[in-house]
């Protein structure tokens, strides 16, 4: 039985697929990982062996402390919850029996802070401010009275009840926070809350998107940088480092490719030096160039320039030597052979080399930003990663990836515009190239005509003067 046409012709050895199918597969290549991410994040029975704790509690007599953001196994979590419930039951039982305990002020203060992760998540509290008891006191009040509700994480009815019961005890003593006015009897603990999670701290897509929206548009306190400023800072370092590498690496590479003298003089050492990992020079760079952007730029430079010299010299050597011989027989002198044959001849390959090396430079960026005073996007990644706010880390990582990818795609497209003679450009980019270069060609043609006119007219003028 013949298979339908749509299924035929997908797997042909060393044969290009038709345009439509190629585009389809390109789209799928991006959608597939995204779909996989969604499935892993949203289908509960696929891969959720852990529980990510959203609200935690400290247990009596247990030294292991879990804080919000920690992962525990799915088997252990109910045990944890049950233990806290039993402690609460004991407190209630004592209260009913008319013998509430005492001397629990210190514990109660800690207990108030159980809601800190929730307050931070809701934006009622800055994440560096988790022990601001005055604000937390009012969070308890507002949650108990219903003035505020928490949507994410949403308090379970059980916990809302606990909040109300505690607030009843607390409000009887003081409307505002004061350590002295805290209840002396034990309060009820918030029962741990959590959600199913995977063990690699991979946040769900919606969390990432929400965090991205918040972080990229957030107003920041003075003295801190917005994401846009961080982005510019990172771009500045990579562009400066890469440009310096180009300024040094391209001429040296070409010299090595053209003259065996420079090749034998420089390349062995460069070849050796490039194996020394650039980050190992970071402390040295900071010591010499001090804090600020200079050591970072220098690290990107060191990481890129040695590769660049070798790659450029290799590209230069790959130029067809017959072209040089042809130029010689046409009367080109050594200098002209470099400027009129070698350089224009290697440009398209050189351009592609630089594209690849720019990708390398990006990998050095992250390390460069960690040395000395941390800066740019990497500082944000570092800080948030330390707090396990991976949903805030991923957007920045994706931003770096997208920047690199988009830059490369644009540069690749420009290749066709800049080097129409390399024969790889499509009709469209050739048309754009001819459109873009039109004014220049017109100016050049005008100049040529003027020269022509002057060359023609000079003898005339002379003749006139003579007569």
């Amino acid at each position: 039985m013949a298979r339908p046409a749509i299924l035929r012709g997908w797997f042909l050895i060393r044969r290009d697929l038709p345009h439509g199918r190629r585009v389809l597969l390109t789209v799928v290549s991006f959608l597939l990982p995204l779909a996989l991410w969604c499935v892993v994040s949203y289908v509960p029975w696929i891969w959720h062996p852990d529980v990510k704790i959203e609200l935690s509690a400290e247990r009596e007599g247990v030294t292991t402390v879990f804080t919000a953001g920690d992962h525990v196994s799915r088997e252990f979590f109910p045990e944890f919850v049950e233990a806290v419930r039993q402690e609460n039951a004991a407190v209630l039982a004592a209260r009913e029996a008319g013998t509430p305990g005492s001397g629990a002020k210190r514990k109660n203060q800690k207990l108030l802070r159980q809601l800190a992760p929730l307050a931070v998540e809701q934006g009622w509290l800055d994440y560096t401010d988790g022990q601001n008891d005055a604000v937390l006191y009012h969070v308890w009040r507002d949650l108990a009275t219903g003035a505020r509700t928490s949507a994410d994480p949403k308090l379970t009815p059980e916990n809302l009840d606990i909040v109300r019961r505690n607030w009843a005890v607390m409000s009887a003593l003081s409307p505002d926070f004061s350590y002295k006015q805290l209840p002396d009897e034990p309060l009820l603990k918030i029962v741990p809350q959590g959600m199913p999670a995977n063990p690699v701290y991979l946040p769900a897509p919606h969390e990432v998107f929400r965090a991205a929206k918040r972080d990229f548009t957030a107003e920041v306190p003075t003295g801190e940088l917005t994401m846009g400023q961080r982005y510019r800072q990172s771009l500045h370092i990579i562009i400066a480092g890469f440009l310096w590498a180009c300024v040094v690496g391209i001429p040296l590479g070409i010299l090595c490719g053209v003259f065996d003298f420079f090749s034998k003089l420089l390349e062995p050492f460069v070849d050796f030096f490039r194996y020394m990992p650039a980050p190992t020079f970071s402390t040295l760079l900071v010591a010499v160039l001090l804090a600020g952007d200079a050591p970072k730029v220098a690290l990107v430079f060191i990481g890129t320039v040695f590769q660049m010299i070798l790659v450029v010299s290799k590209t230069t050597r790959l130029l067809d030597p017959a072209l040089l011989e042809a130029a010689q027989t046409l009367g080109a002198k050594p200098r002209q052979m470099i400027t009129k044959v070698v350089i224009p001849g290697i440009l398209p390959n050189l351009y592609n080399d630089l594209r690849i090396l720019l990708g390398w430079a990006w990998t050095w960026l992250v390390i460069a930003e960690l040395i000395g005073v941390k800066s740019g996007l990497t500082e944000f990644i570092e800080t948030q990663g330390r707090f396990r706010n991976f949903e805030r880390v991923f957007p920045v990582i994706i931003l770096i990836g997208v920047t690199g990818f988009v830059t490369d795609q644009i540069l690749s497209w420009l290749h066709g515009l800049l080097f129409p003679w390399a024969g790889k450009s499509g009709n469209f980019s050739r048309a754009v190239a001819s459109f873009v270069s039109w004014p220049f060609r017109m100016v050049a043609a005008g100049a040529r005509e003027r020269i022509a006119a002057s060359e023609m007219s000079t003898p005339e003028v002379r003749r006139n003067e003579a007569s």
Partner: protein, 298 residues
């Protein structure tokens, strides 16, 4: 295929051909090669590629150099163009000793070697600009040469957009634009298909007729050599040395009809015998037996 027609000796020249050769001898010597020797150092010892090669080419002569593969004809032309140095020997262009490459000796390579980043016009302008001419002058001259090879319509095309024959015409125009005193051509049509090669040979003769140029043409194609040449320099292999310089008795102007002239065939046969002496032919290829004989295939 053997024709049992008695061919005249290639030495017999019609009176007008003999007169032409006599006049050629009167012309100044454009290129004089004397005692040219080239030795290569290899791990197995010294290999002599060329041994005491001497000959001279007169002004506006077209000489072909032919020989079995490995006879050093490419080495010879590369030395003449200055791209390689000889171990011994002397090279004079119009009486002046030369060494190293220079614009007085143009070269057309088998691999075209057009600059791919330059348009046809800019390729042809390359030599004049190297000579220090202004863009305007170079462009005006380039246009004339491009017209001469019949590519006026393609002056703004890039080499990758041209066919092999067109590329080689550009290469010829580029070499001629420099107005060299001698033009060397190293198997220039070797990479072209048979039909294009035929056309290019006629083209070359047309150009040669209209341009004051002396040509030394390297080839391994017998018909090409006889069709183009005034004289043919036949090289021996191992070591490469001059076997004979043959005066081609085929009258000019040449045309494709002459391929079957007795003079043409006699010259061709003589050189063929020199390059592949009878008795040294390869043994016949072994015959693969077919399971079923096919009477239509003999």
């Amino acid at each position: 295929m053997s024709t049992h027609v008695e061919l005249p000796s290639y030495r017999e020249q019609a009176p007008e051909v003999a007169a032409r050769f006599a006049r050629l001898q009167q012309r100044p010597v454009a290129l004089e090669v004397s005692g040219l020797t080239k030795k290569f150092e290899t791990p197995r010892g010294v290999v002599t590629a060329l041994s005491d090669v001497s000959f001279s080419v007169h002004k506006r002569e077209l000489m072909c150099v032919i020989g079995p593969s490995g006879c050093g004809k490419s080495t010879l032309v590369r030395i003449l163009a200055g791209l390689e140095t000889a171990t011994a020997g002397e090279l004079k262009v119009y009486g002046e000793p030369v060494s190293g490459p220079g614009p007085d000796r143009g070269m057309v390579f088998q691999g075209y070697t057009l600059f791919p980043w330059l348009s046809v016009k800019e390729n042809v302008m390359f030599g004049p600009k190297m000579a220090g001419k202004s863009s305007f002058t170079a462009e005006r001259e380039a246009r004339e040469w491009i017209d001469l090879v019949g590519l006026a319509k393609f002056e703004n095309s890039y080499p990758h957009q041209l066919s092999g024959g067109m590329k080689q015409r550009v290469a010829i125009a580029r070499a001629l634009a420099n107005q060299p005193r001698v033009l060397f051509m190293d198997e220039p049509f070797g990479a072209l298909d048979a039909q294009t090669r035929c056309k290019m040979q006629s083209y070359l003769l047309d150009i040669w007729k209209n341009v004051d140029i002396t040509i030394v043409f390297i080839t391994h194609d017998l018909d090409e050599a006889v069709f183009l040449s005034d004289r043919i320099l036949v090289l021996d292999a191992n070591p490469g040395r001059v076997a004979e310089i043959v005066e081609v008795p085929v009258p000019r102007p040449r045309s494709e009809q002459q391929l079957f002239d007795p003079t043409f065939m006699a010259t061709r046969k003589h050189i063929d015998h020199m390059m592949h002496p009878p008795g040294q032919e390869q043994k016949e290829a072994p015959v693969l037996r077919m399971a079923v004989a096919d009477p239509d295939v003999i």
